[in-house]
Each structure stands twice: as C-alpha cells, then as structure tokens.
C-alpha cells in the first residue's frame, strides 16, 4: 500500500479500470495531449491511444451527449468537465436524456462525469462552485463526493461499474493537499454508504468533500470540551440516511456543513430528514453552516469569508453545545 495524493488516487484508479476493461474510455477538454487541466489523465493518451483518451471540442453538451450514446451502445465512458461549473452547459443531455433513459426505455446509461469542484484558490464565480445539490434534485442521477484518497479510488471504481449516470465530484482543494494510503489492488467503496470520519458523543457534524477536513480541525480544537462525531456522507445520491440518523440519535445534536450556498443546499434535505425521522431524539435545533447565497468571490479575503472556515464551524458547534 502506498501513500498517494487525492489526485493520484483518482488517476491511478482510472488507469487501473482502463487497463482491465476495454469498454472504459475517457473524454474531455484537453485531457489527451495536455493531460488535463489538473493532470489527472497525464500520460493516458500515450498508454491507451487517442481513441480511448479523446480530446473533445469545447462543448460539454457534445461530451455528455456522446457519452450517453456510447453508454447505451455498451461502452463505459468517463467524461471530464474541466471545471464542475461547466456542467450547466450539459444540463439538457444529462438531466433530460441520460437521467431519464432508464425510466423511458429501460436501457442502462453507465456514464461517469468527473467534476473538479470547489473553491479556496481564488478561482472566482466560474471555477469554484459546488453544484451538487442541483443534481441531487434529479431522479435518475447518482452523486458521489469523496473526501479521502482511498475513497476517491474506491468510489470511482464503483461509479464506473454502476449502470446509472454518476456525477463524480472531486474537490480541487484536496487534489495535492490530501495524502493517504491507498491500496494498490482494485477495490470498490459502495455508493450510498457514509463513513464515520471521527467518532464522538456530543454533537454530530454531517458533511462531505473538503469540509470533512474543516470539521475535523474544528473538532480537534474542541476536543477537550466537546466530543464531536463527523459523518462523511461520501455519496449524496443516494445518501446514507441510516448512518446520519444513527449518529444523531446518539448525540441528539447535529450540525450540517457544506461548502455550497445555503438556500436549497443539500444540507436542507438532511436537516429536514433528521427532523422528520428523528425528531424525538433532538435536544437542540439542527444547525446549518454553509456559504452565503452569493456567487463565489475572486478576492481572497472575500472568498475566505464565503467558504465556511474552521472558525465558523467552531462557532456553530459552541452555539449548539450551549443550547
């Protein structure tokens, strides 16, 4: 087992699947000769050839549309959006065609769309978003948001195996910052299963992606006063209700944290579910910590204000603890 970055884990996982299954191919903007904007597919074209590592025109509609057709014909395409923000261009192909195909015609659409997402590096309003909640609202799509290198690999393999369209949100801020041991052999992490990142008794934090680490830092700082349990959802659609409710029933207090904006964010769904199904376990109102309802600012200080920081989580946890 080797220590790998989050990015390396994605890259190696993808390569491994392409090596073992000839139906798997990748397509995206500048992913071939250039190796991708973030170099996830560096060296892929040399290894697998231009027919399986396809440089696409600047058309997300074409990328997702062609993947959908190829998947229906029996291939296992893995598309890359250069930035998750650009997936809005492919909305119609993804939401209207791919997500409905199984329901309308009974045919599987086993595509994976990789979505480099998230902010924290002054990418501004077009290169920093976390649009997962928009797609969590669409029946027929699956969504994963790995936080660790090992999950990044295992969830990518599961996503490729799955017969449905899967949106694979990979957080850019984690690419080279997060390193951990990743098994060399092929393995899967099941879709729809959460992971307890940190065990605790007093408060549950439900989060995913890069915010797992923000929550973890806050939990460490409060360690002597407050025992915080962190549930890393890993998948948003389907999401692991049982894991969340089990934890909330233990702690009776919950904070839902996400980098996406607040209104209509996926946190609202989690809060509502806790309220509906575990109301009698609650000792305090369930709290949300999320970005404000604005575009992501360029300015570094403003972006820092925008993205939930450790201090924001600390304040939220203290407020909950004092209730």
């Amino acid at each position: 087992m080797a220590v790998k970055t989050y990015l390396q884990a994605i890259s190696d996982g993808l390569r491994q699947e392409m090596q073992r299954d000839k139906r798997v191919y990748v397509i995206g903007e500048d992913i071939g000769v250039y190796g991708g904007a973030f170099k996830v597919t560096q060296g892929f074209q040399e290894e697998f050839g231009a027919w399986r590592v396809i440089d696409a025109p600047l058309s997300e509609t074409a990328i997702v549309g062609s993947c959908t057709g190829a998947a229906i014909m029996g291939l296992r395409p893995v598309a890359e959006m250069q930035f998750a923000d650009f997936i809005s261009c492919a909305w119609d192909q993804l939401v209207t065609v791919a997500a409905k195909q199984r329901y309308r015609a009974g045919t599987a659409v086993p595509i994976v769309v990789r979505l480099p997402s998230g902010g924290g590096f002054s990418g501004g309003p077009f290169h920093s978003q976390n649009p997962e909640s928009s797609f969590a609202h669409i029946p027929g799509l699956k969504i994963v948001c790995p936080a660790t290198p090992a999950d990044a690999k295992g969830l990518l393999v599961s996503a490729i195996e799955d017969p449905n369209p899967v949106l694979y949100f990979e957080h850019k801020h984690l690419y080279r910052r997060i390193k951990d041991e990743v098994p060399d052999e092929r393995y899967t992490v099941p879709l729809g299963k959460a992971r307890v990142h940190r065990e605790g008794d007093d408060v549950t934090v439900v989060t995913w992606g890069a915010m797992v680490y923000t929550a973890d830092e806050a939990a460490k700082q409060l360690e002597s006063d407050l025992s915080v349990e962190i549930v890393d959802l890993r998948s948003l659609s389907p999401w692991d209700k049982e894991a969340v409710l089990t934890s909330v029933e233990k702690t009776s207090r919950a904070l839902v944290l996400h980098e996406d904006t607040r209104t209509g964010g996926f946190g609202a769904e989690i809060v509502a579910t806790i309220m509906e199904e575990s109301f009698e376990s609650l000792d305090a109102p369930v709290k949300r910590v999320a970005a404000p309802d604005t575009p992501v600012p360029f300015s570094p200080p403003l972006e820092k204000k925008f993205i939930p920081q450790v201090e924001d989580v600390l304040a939220g946890l203290r407020d909950l603890a004092e209730y």
């Binding site: 009776s252 009698e280 004092e322």
Partner: protein, 469 residues
C-alpha cells in the same frame, strides 16, 4: 402603571382569597377599539369564570399575557391607548377592573349590602372595598416570569422524561437560560432522581398544574398527584379548566372531610303547587319575575333552619360554629357540562318570597353569563341543589365545605298516593309528589336531628300558608 397616555389593564383582584387568574379568552384583538366597561377578556380563577370589562375607552394597544396563561393578581396583562385622551384624563381612567365588575352586580347589591352588617366578626378579613387598592401600583413580575427558557422541553428531553416518569421541572438545567438538556436529565436519572418503575402516586404534580398560592388550605394529594398516562388510541385529551380542577379538588376534599349521610323525604306538594299557580301571575304582572318552585322550597327551608340551627353550622376544629344568618348557596349548572357553580345569596333570613325569588334569578343569570365575582361564591352556610329540573327523583349530593348539609330538590311528579280523610278512610289519590334528599355531616348532625328537620320542612310545604310569606 399608566404612562401619560396609555392605560394598563391588570389582572383584577376577583376576591380576597384569589391571588391569580387564567386568561381564557381575549374578546378584543390588538388594534380593535373598545369602550369603557365593554367586556375585554374572560378569565378563570379557581372560583369562577368571569368577564373583565375594559377600564377605558380607546384602542387595545398591546396584549401582554396570552390565552391560557395564569398570572398573579395585579400583573399587567394589556395596554389600552385612550382615544385622543389628554394625559390628565388618561391618568384618571385606569380604575381597577374589579370596580366596574362589582358595579355591574348591582342587581344583587341589596343582598350584598346587608351582608356587611350581618357578617360576623370571624369573616372580617379585608372587605370588598379592599379590591380597589389591589391594582394601581405596578407589581413586580410574577416569580414564574423568568422561567421562559427553562420551561422549554426539547423533544428528546420530553421523551426521556415520559419514559422515566420524570418531572422536568425538578431537574436542574445547564442549557441556555437554564434549559434542561438531555445530559441533565440523564444525569438526574442516573443519580436516582427518577423512580425506576412508574409509581404515579409518588410522582410530583404535572408541570402544567398552576402553582397554588401558599395561603390555600392544604389539599389532599390525590387530585393532582398522578402523572397523566399518555393518550391511547380512541381517546381525546384536554386539560382541566381551573374551574374543573377546583370542583374536583373540592368534591374530593368534602368526601374526605364530612361523614356523609343522605336521608330522603316524600313531600305532597299540592298546596305549594296551588300557591305557586296563584302567585305566579301576580309576580309576573306586578314585579316582572318568573316564579318557580325553587324560591318556595328555599323559603320554607330557611324558616325550618331557624328551628334546627345545627343544619346551618360548621365544624371548626373541635368547635361547633352556628351561624346566625343563612347564606344560601344555589347550585347552578353551566351550559354544555362546562362546570357547576354555587353562587351564594347572603342573609336570606331577611328576604321575603319576592326578594328571594329576585335574588335567585339574578344570581343564576350572573353565574351563567360569567359575571360572578369570587366573593359571590363564598361564605355559604347551607346549599340547595336542584337536579329535579332534569327529572331526577333521588340523589346523594356532596356537601359544600365547610357547611354541614345540602338539600337536593328532586322532580315534581304525579303519583298515586294513599290519603286518609278526617274520618280515617283511606283512598288512592293522584298527588303532586316531590322527593327531598338531604345529605348531612354526621360528625355534627345525627340521624334523628336531620329527620326532624326534614319532617318540619315537609310539614311547612304540605301546609303551605301563603300569609306567612
């Protein structure tokens, strides 16, 4: 306290022994105009339900205590901004609500006016005039006021409390504003604070029971002690009104206090029926009052009490206290089974049949229209209850403490009766018969004494002498 322009409405002092009241209904909402003396809200004390008239003409500016809240006498419950009132006028307006309420009860004022002189010294607590001074100065907020945060029970704490039969108010809270947290209640249970097995009789009162002022007589634990069981399927649950709680407590206490015995007498009412037939028209035409049998029976009862004074007495410790006046309680059922109230007509020994008839009508009207004052239901020395109107022919009424007897007037029915003429011949006749049932307290009144009282009462009714009334 009135500001320069606003008039405060305070929880009125509804009687010398009443220290708090529950707001049952606001009859006006904020922003509505109201005239002085127009009913503003309904309150419920442990004695009566009543309307509170507005102390001023103007606009209801603010409601400070919501429906269902129980607040101490003198607590500011609303603010009225007088219509274009200059400051001086406004300052004069806020008389105590009770003053108006008392004024409304003028139809019974004759009886009450005599009370003051007729009442013996032992009743000489601060009199009705006292009510006026209870209001003006602002009261400190009631002790319960600061508990708002602590009183909130979170879902999980509520569930744990129910599962372990814990009274949350007994748990010390460490949450915000003293709220009881899940940890607090679990620690309380771990420390043995809760009874492991549900033992209702030992549990403290449910938290919603209003705190009773300390001055009240000690109460038997039985009424409020049990922790209410959760509602089952097919059941509906509603909280007891203060009146219902008061009745429950009083009835239980009476049975725990007095040695109840009931005796029943059959009375031939032929002469009373005839007398009423004759007087009915006269009362209606001359005085505008409707004469029922009740004033006739009450009048005969009051006279009979004069010969049997222990029927109009009280057991006080080891003493027998005989009252020289007859304050007659008349049980009045409120509509819709909402309760029972026993307004008292003071010093009835001084009222003739017409006066008694008027007093009964007036006080029953006030009872049904919720205009009674708590002092109207206190100080009774003997009670008459009248379920006969519904067709009852026998009952075993419960004595209203601290009295020693209650007379139950049953239905007037025609029955075949054996009558004997002057020559000793028996025959069967159809007679208007009525049963009178007397419950008495055998601690003081023995069976022979009670039977002789009833014998004399029966004789008075059967030989009704119009000229005597």
């Amino acid at each position: 306290m009135a500001t320069e322009t606003a008039v405060d409405v305070v929880m009125p002092q509804m009687g010398v022994s009443v220290s708090e009241g529950t707001i049952t209904k606001w009859l006006k909402s904020v922003g509505e105009e109201i005239s002085a003396d127009e009913p503003l809200l309904e309150i419920s004390t442990d004695k009566v339900d009543t309307e509170v008239p507005s102390p001023a003409t103007g606009t209801l500016q603010e409601i400070l205590s919501q429906e269902g809240e129980t607040v101490a006498v003198g607590t500011k419950i609303a603010v009225i901004s007088p219509e274009g009132a200059p400051a001086a006028e406004a300052a004069d307006v806020p008389e105590p609500a009770t003053a108006q309420a008392a004024a409304e009860s003028e139809d019974a004022s004759g009886a009450e006016g005599e009370t003051a002189t007729a009442e013996p010294a032992q009743e000489a607590e601060p009199g009705p005039a006292e009510t006026a001074e209870a209001r003006p100065s602002p009261q400190p907020p009631p002790a319960g006021d600061g508990r708002g945060d602590k009183a909130f029970v979170s879902p999980v704490v509520g569930r744990i409390a129910a599962e372990h039969s814990v009274d949350v108010t007994q748990v010390e809270g460490t949450g915000r504003g003293g709220r009881v947290t899940k940890k607090d209640i679990l620690a309380f249970i771990d420390s043995g604070g809760a009874k492991e097995t549900p033992a209702p009789a030992q549990e403290p009162a449910p938290p919603e029971a209003p705190a009773k002022p300390a001055e009240r007589a000690p109460e038997p634990a039985t009424v409020q002690a049990a922790t209410p069981a959760a509602p089952q399927a097919g059941e509906t649950v509603e909280p007891m009104t203060p009146m219902r709680k008061g009745i429950a407590e009083h009835m239980r206490r009476s049975l725990d206090t007095a040695a109840h015995v009931t005796t029943t007498f059959e009375v031939d009412m032929a002469r009373v029926v005839a007398a009423r037939e004759k007087l009915k028209r006269e009362f209606q035409e001359k005085h505008g009052v409707k004469l029922t049998y009740l004033p006739l029976i009450a009048r005969a009862t009051i006279d009979t009490i004069g010969d049997w004074p222990w029927m109009n007495a009280e057991v006080r410790g080891d003493s027998i206290v005989v009252k020289q006046y007859v304050n007659l309680g008349i049980a009045v059922a409120l509509e819709g089974g909402k309760g029972l109230i026993v307004p008292v007509i003071k010093s009835t020994e001084g009222l003739n049949l017409l006066g008694l008839t008027r007093a009964i009508i007036a006080i029953a009207d006030r009872a049904r229209s919720k205009k009674l004052l708590p002092d109207d239901v206190q100080g009774g020395t003997f009670t008459i209850t009248n379920p006969g109107g519904f067709g009852a022919i026998h009952g075993t009424p419960i004595i209203s403490q601290p009295q020693v007897a209650i007379l139950d007037v049953e239905a007037l029915v025609k029955r075949p009766v054996v009558v004997t003429d002057d020559d000793g011949n028996d025959s069967i006749a159809i007679r208007p018969m009525m049963n009178l049932c007397l419950s008495y307290d055998h601690r003081l009144v023995d069976g022979a004494y009670a039977a002789q009282f009833m014998r004399d009462l029966r004789e008075r009714l059967q030989t009704w002498d119009e000229s005597a009334y």
